[in-house]
Structures are given as structure tokens and as C-alpha cells.
Symmetry: C2
Subunit: 289 residues, 2 copies
């Protein structure tokens, strides 16, 4: 039961939202970040599916047909042939304190962003990473959902920025959960080759169920490489022969070194990039090399 949406012009490219918007008050909403290239929203269908299933999980009454009806207009508004579309859906305004109105009238926002200048270089050359000290909050119920409660990522990114000042090769920070399991990067998912097995952390207690992560699991499987999804202790990373990051904006970045700035140990070098280079080849039409 979805309420009638407001007119498109109220919503979708608005430069402001109400200061009563529940996205602001409580982080009561979801978002997607999508690469736009050559007239297409890359991997739009899985992004759409994740957004809609996130709305179902949180009880946000986003009308599917309404969302779909906006897409041609959104695509027509793209500021360049290669950029990023951010879609934000909040539960709108209203309710009494935390308690949401029912039914609710979601706010839908679209925002275009430019690509960061370092994407191609990092794709080609690989990057260094650190472990962030700030841990990911654990909650099995909201794990996987790309909701707007992203303070953990903000606080971890502060560490990353501080580190990148003196070590500019560091382009991403790895995040652990409160029990020191490796989960993901601040804005990416992570894969590691440990004892010849390609592994990626399970996301049953925290982490974002990444669209590119799932695409890579499928692609590797279709090529006969099983990705093992399991709990990975943070110390296991230093046994890895290869590691790489992915998201649906930059594709795949090989990790060259893990710089454990806090433990004061020597960096761990990942000598192989075989899996990452294979994945980049499969994706090269959409994510140029």
C-alpha cells in the first residue's frame, strides 16, 4: 500500500530537504551509488533490487513503479557520459518521534557526482590499504542493508584521510567488526586469496551486501572459481597472497600492501594480482582499464 508520490519536481533533484526529514533526524533511509557510463546505469537491476528489498526490510513504502518511471528522466539529465548517480530514499517526514507514520511517503533524491580523478590510476597500479581502528557496529538484522546510518564509515574515513596525508598510496581503509573479523573497506568490499582459496567475508553481522561483490562471485563461479564466503579473522589477511577491493563505481582495485599503521609492523605485501586482473578483464567494457 503505497501513498501517492509527490510530483517529481518536488523531489528528485531538490537541493534541500525538510529539516523534519527522517533521513536527517534518524538516518531513516537507504541509498545506492551507481556508475553511469555511455548512457547506461551500470548494474542498475541489482541496485534497484537492493534498494527495493531494503525498503521492504525497513518498511519504507516506496512504490516500485514510481521509481521505475523516474529513470528515463534521470538518465536524460546526466551531466556527462561517465559519472556517478546517487539515489537516496528516506521515509520522508512525519511520525511521532522515532515511530514512523504508516503508511509513509518516502523522499526520493537523485544526485549526480563526478568520478574521482584517481580511479583509472588505482585500477591500473593498485593501492595500499590500512586497517582502520574504528570498528563496524554489529547487528544481524540490518547487516547487508545499504542504509543511511553510516557514522562508522565516516569515522573510519577520518583515519584513512589522516593516514593518506603522509602515505598517499593508501587509498582505502579496511574495517573490522567489533570482534576483529575482516568485513569490508570503508566504501568497498574485499576479496582475499588465502591458501589458494579466493575468499570474501561473510556479511551476516555487519557490512554492505555489495552489488559488485555479488557480480564478482557470479563471474568467478561462471569461470569455475568458487568464492568462499566465510568469517575471516583480521590476522588471516597477512597470510594472503593476493587481495583486492571492489565496488560498483570503480570496479576492481588490486591491493599491493597492507600497512598496519597501528601495530607498527612491516607492511604485508600481496605479490599476486592474478584474480584481480582476471576480474578487471571481465568488466573492462564497463569499467575501463
Amino acid at each position: 500500500m503505497s501513498p501517492a508520490p509527490q510530483t517529481v519536481s518536488d523531489h528528485i533533484f531538490s537541493e534541500t530537504v525538510s529539516s523534519q526529514n527522517r533521513g536527517l533526524l534518524y538516518g531513516d533511509g537507504l541509498f545506492e551509488t551507481i556508475r553511469f557510463r555511455s548512457g547506461q546505469l551500470l548494474l542498475w537491476e541489482p541496485h534497484r533490487q537492493r534498494l527495493l528489498s531494503g525498503c521492504d526490510a525497513l518498511g519504507i513504502d516506496l512504490d516500485h513503479a514510481y521509481l521505475d518511471s523516474l529513470i528515463p528522466e534521470i538518465i536524460a539529465s546526466a551531466p556527462s557520459t561517465d559519472c556517478i548517480l546517487k539515489v537516496i530514499v528516506t521515509r520522508g517526514t512525519g511520525g511521532r518521534g522515532y515511530s514512523p507514520p504508516s503508511p509513509n511517503r518516502p523522499t526520493v533524491l537523485f544526485q549526480w557526482h563526478a568520478l574521482a580523478a584517481d580511479i583509472i590510476n588505482n585500477t591500473r597500479m593498485g593501492i595500499d590499504v590500512i586497517f582502520c581502528r574504528h570498528p563496524l557496529s554489529v547487528n544481524p538484522v540490518t547487516a547487508g542493508i545499504k542504509h543511511l546510518n553510516r557514522l562508522d564509515q565516516v569515522l573510519a574515513s577520518r583515519e584513512l584521510s589522516a593516514c593518506a596525508v603522509h602515505t598517499p598510496t593508501v587509498r582505502e581503509g579496511l574495517m573490522l567488526d567489533v570482534d576483529s573479523n575482516l568485513i569490508e573497506g570503508t566504501r568497498s568490499n574485499v576479496f582475499v586469496v588465502i591458501q589458494n582459496q579466493l575468499c570474501t567475508p561473510e556479511l551476516t553481522r555487519c557490512g554492505v551486501d555489495g552489488v559488485m561483490r555479488n557480480r564478482l562471485i557470479e563471474l568467478f563461479a561462471s569461470q569455475g572459481v568458487e568464492v568462499v564466503v566465510r568469517a575471516i579473522r583480521h590476522r588471516e589477511l597477512t597470510q594472503g597472497s593476493e587481495a583486492f577491493l571492489c565496488n560498483s563505481v570503480f570496479g576492481v582495485w588490486p591491493i599491493l600492501r597492507l600497512i598496519d599503521v597501528h601495530a607498527g609492523e612491516e607492511p604485508h605485501e600481496f605479490r599476486a594480482t592474478t584474480m584481480a586482473r582476471m576480474a578487471q578483464q571481465w568488466l573492462r567494457d564497463d569499467f575501463p582499464l
Copy 2:
């Protein structure tokens, strides 16, 4: 190092915020909810302290003197002699993705709200509570901070609203952490008398470090009653002889019954209200009975 604040008129009663505000994008901010009564912001000093120490913890560059300078104007704008002031501080706009700008220029918003109609009645008569199924996320680093990542409270409040439809005496939901420890209510802290000890949950892994909770711990101590702050398993609640909720808007509400809607058991009745009534007496000048 605090940047110059924007002019007051840009900020403080704005009906909108930028759709690039980091409060909306990431829940990157804090809030306080304060009772205003007879010309005074009740317990303003501990609210102010919590807000400033929260800003320090998150690295939000809120200028203390700027915040203080706004208060007379805020008080002068109060719409009635008994209402609620909400203060929201976000990290403002800017930065690159999750990574915040440094220094940052915070957004400060003030919002007046009316008191809910049931406050006095619940204070006098007490209320029933449920256990919410939705668990609180665990993160020792952000535990205690009243930040804007409140999706857990929103999802728990949906359960509460659904329950209150058929059981209107249920006015609050108790929340457990992911390991089934009792932590707090959706918008309150909780005290329980177990084996003649007045206890309240420790908030080292999640929960909000409530201003009224701390005030009550002080008040009880000053009257020779030690409040034991410890982990409380959810099952211990049914051994309690008394329980009550508190926050800095409503003061103290006795809990009459715990209705365990999910387990299908008989409600647990709290027969005593002695401690709650004592606390209400101490607070009666500010939180009328």
C-alpha cells in the same frame, strides 16, 4: 580550531537543510532533546556537556562559545511555557564521500516540539512495556553517544506502535543488544530492582548515556541508595520487583507490566513503585506529578 559559524539566521530555525548535508547523507551528527519549562531549559548543563563531548568524539568542530551565544535567543523563541527543544548538530556539508572536510563547518538546528498528551498520565499511572525484537547494534566506540544513527530505534518503535494498537497501555519498548542484554527503552533509560538492588544496564557496548539516567544515579546516591550499573540479562527482568523508565522529557515513568508479546508468556507484573515514586518526588518541581 573552529571555522566561523554561519550567521544565525541561516541556521538555527531553518525549515530545510541542504540535500548534501552530512546529517542526511550519513547520520553524521548528534542531537539533544530537552524539556523547556517556566523559562528554563531543564538540565541544560549536562545536555550541553554531552553535546560538546559528542562533537569531540566525532571530530565535529562545534564552537562552544557560538553554541552558548545562541541560547538566550532560543529561549526567547519558545512557543509555550512547557515544551521540548530539540538541538541537532551535524558536520555540515562537504568532504569527499564518507571522508569529512577538515575543519568542518557544523550545521546547528533548533526545533521546538509540543509535549505528548500522555506524559502526566503515564507519570501517575505507570505504563506497560514490551521487549522489542529489533536489537541494538553493538559498538563500544560509539556507545553512549547520542548520534543521528537511530535506525535501530526507528525499527523498534515500529514494533511498539504495532503492539500499542491492540494494547494501548503499552507506551514503551525495551531494547536488548545482539547478545540479549537489556540496554534501554527506545527513547528512555531503564532501572530495575533485582533482589533489593537498584540496577541499571551498563552502556559500554551500546545505548545512550542518558542525562536523566545520570541525574537519577546522583540523586539516589545522595539519598544513600547505590545504583548498581552492570550487564543485565533480559531474563533477569522477570525477577524484578520494580522497574521504571526515565528520560529528560518525561522524568520518571513506573513500569507496571512487562508484556512479552513474542514469547507468548503471561505478563510479568512489577508490584512495587517505591523507587520510582521517590525519584518523582525529588524531580517534582521540574517534572510535575
